[in-house]
Chain length 335, copies 2
DNA sequence: GGATCGTGTTGAAACGTTTTCATCGGAGCC
DNA sequence: GGCTCCGATGAAAACGTTTCAACACGATCC
């Protein structure tokens, strides 16, 4: 069809294919006159270079792949945006794959990245099994883990100290007077959840308090609503009075159910969420939450990957951010 | 480095390159024995076909591009998921680009799709200007519009009747006794917003009621909070008592501010959102909203595109869904 | 027993670039 | 005026696949 190739551009401009290619890739080495003629020809023919051919010949795709756990979560969306910004500044495009909490979808995207010969991979992994990344190592395609550390230390990572996040949440609740703690976590195969739980547990033990743990799959508003109903049905004396939600969605759901059922938040129950999404501050009882520098995380991860693509060694270049407690109305004030 | 090509597979299996290619693409025409040998060789070498080469030769990428307005919005996320499901069933991958409410980002993705020679395009367009799609027509790359109709009728589309949605929202408010209506819309360059406003206006005029219109850019929780504060500061007699939000985020924000300021919802003000996201039902005063079949929209759009790729003519194949009113606590009951 | 057919297989061309190396023409130098 | 040198240009090879046309071989047919 209208598939216009470099050949036709060259013909129209009256130069060789090489010159057209040079105009595209290193315009500084070709004469002003030739540049102008070629650009005019490109314009008039509506020529668009065929990436597949370029990639085949050059061996690089100039695209990096990014697979995130759940792009609907504003935390990951912001992260992706940060990564795209950094990548684009260096002439790379970013292909974002949404795992949607499914390991199958994640591995499907890694397959795709592999087949497409993407130049690098950013991965916010769902599970603990990083063996799927070995094929990239084999072709020396750099990989940077996002929001997650590699226990084996083989992959660079940009992450947040989730243990600290859990501790911030729990100690805040305890200082506010909570005595019966509960942690509502996602699937424990997700490392972030395990770490947040661990942080919560550390503080609970230090204060010699009991800690109930709920793990019923992916954290959603819907799940929170159900858990909240169950909690509301418990006698107040045995009901948890300090709840750490693995994310804001589930925390908001819990809070809603409790309030609907007439339970006073934060009077009877204090709640802390995680991620500080926009809705946290917009709920009728604004949600206390743990904030992470999402945009920054994506940005730094991409920068690390770009550095690797530029030939730098990534060992010991990992980055770890600290989360931050944002106190609002859903938790009793300290004292 | 480990870049193993079809050539080495062929050598190891003791067959020609052609046979390896055939095993990959049409295994039915090659003998059982050869298939086994080739598959063993592929396995032992860890061979992964180079898509760029395939695409260059075959002229097809087997990838379709999808650009959506804002993937953080669960409506679009579900839509993308529906499209991916349909595409994958036919052996296509989907490259999802997030415009993030920015026309520049949208056009950036269309550029990328074009350069990458993707086989088809699904687009939930931000603005009215569809001229950027012409280049696809020129190369006869099929395009299906999502959540949007093409006024010129040149592109097939899968959309929702937003005028009807606006009418459902407004007539529900009016039946509940609202007399001073307000519509809070996003940028009017977004057609959906215009249509929702139009539907609201139709019902307002029919009931001979005034309609205030707010348009202050992208609809977010934050914006809603601000609008709600302004509303709360107004004397009750002149304050709108029936509000249609262009999406749930802004509606929830408005509701939150009003309640915080002591305004009774739905006693003094009724509110209807749009999209029926999970948070709508999880807010302390559950939000009445307009629901759209998001997953189905994406699915049908991809199916249409696949049909086009299979050579079918898309003219007059557009699909239009009807939205649905979901009544909850944020609006006064009828009567 | 030769022509015809069918089944598996193969060699070679082609896809549209980038890149290497050679060539060319002219400017600067002695 | 002949020499070198340099910048600009071009011819051709290469990237890894798909696909077409041709081939080998045995079975089937008259």
């Amino acid at each position: 069809m209208g598939a216009v190739s470099i050949r036709e551009v060259a013909a129209l401009a009256g130069v060789s294919i090489t010159t057209v290619s040079n105009v595209l890739n290193r315009p500084e080495i070709v004469s002003r006159k030739a540049v102008e003629r070629v650009e005019a020809a490109i314009e008039s023919l509506g020529y668009v270079p065929n990436i597949a051919a370029r990639q085949l010949r050059a061996g690089r795709s100039s695209v990096i792949g990014m697979a995130v756990i759940n792009i609907t979560n504003p935390f990951f969306a912001e992260m992706a945006l940060g990564a795209e910004r950094a990548a684009e500044a260096s002439g790379y495009a970013v292909f974002v794959g949404n795992s949607y909490d499914s390991a199958a979808r994640e591995s499907h995207y890694l397959d795709l990245f592999d087949r497409q010969r993407l130049d690098g991979v950013l991965l916010a992994p769902i599970g603990d099994d990083l063996s799927a990344l070995e094929r990239f190592a084999k072709r020396s395609v750099p990989v940077v883990l996002v929001d997650r550390v590699d226990p084996s230390g083989r992959h660079a990572s940009v992450s947040v100290d989730d243990v600290l996040g859990g501790r911030l949440a729990a100690s805040h609740l305890i200082e506010g007077g909570a005595r019966r703690l509960m942690f509502v976590g996602g699937p424990t195969r997700i490392a972030q959840m395990r770490e947040r739980l661990e942080g919560t547990r550390i503080e609970a033990e230090r204060a010699r308090l009991d800690l109930a743990v709920v793990d019923e799959g992916a954290l959603s508003v819907r799940l929170g609503l159900k858990i909240g109903r169950d909690l509301a049905a418990m006698p107040r004396a045995s009901r948890p009075d300090g709840i750490v939600g693995g994310n804001d969605e589930v925390a908001l759901g819990i809070m809603h159910s409790l309030i609907q059922a007439g339970v006073d938040v934060p009077g009877e129950v204090s709640i802390v969420g995680y991620d500080d999404i926009d809705f946290a501050s917009a709920s009728t009882v604004a949600l206390t939450s743990i904030r992470q520098p999402s945009h920054e995380i994506g940005l730094r991860a991409a920068q690390l990957l770009l550095a690797a693509l530029a030939g730098e060694d990534l060992r010991d270049r990992s980055v770890r951010f600290d989360p931050e407690l944002v106190v609002r109305q859903s938790s009793r004030p300290v004292g």
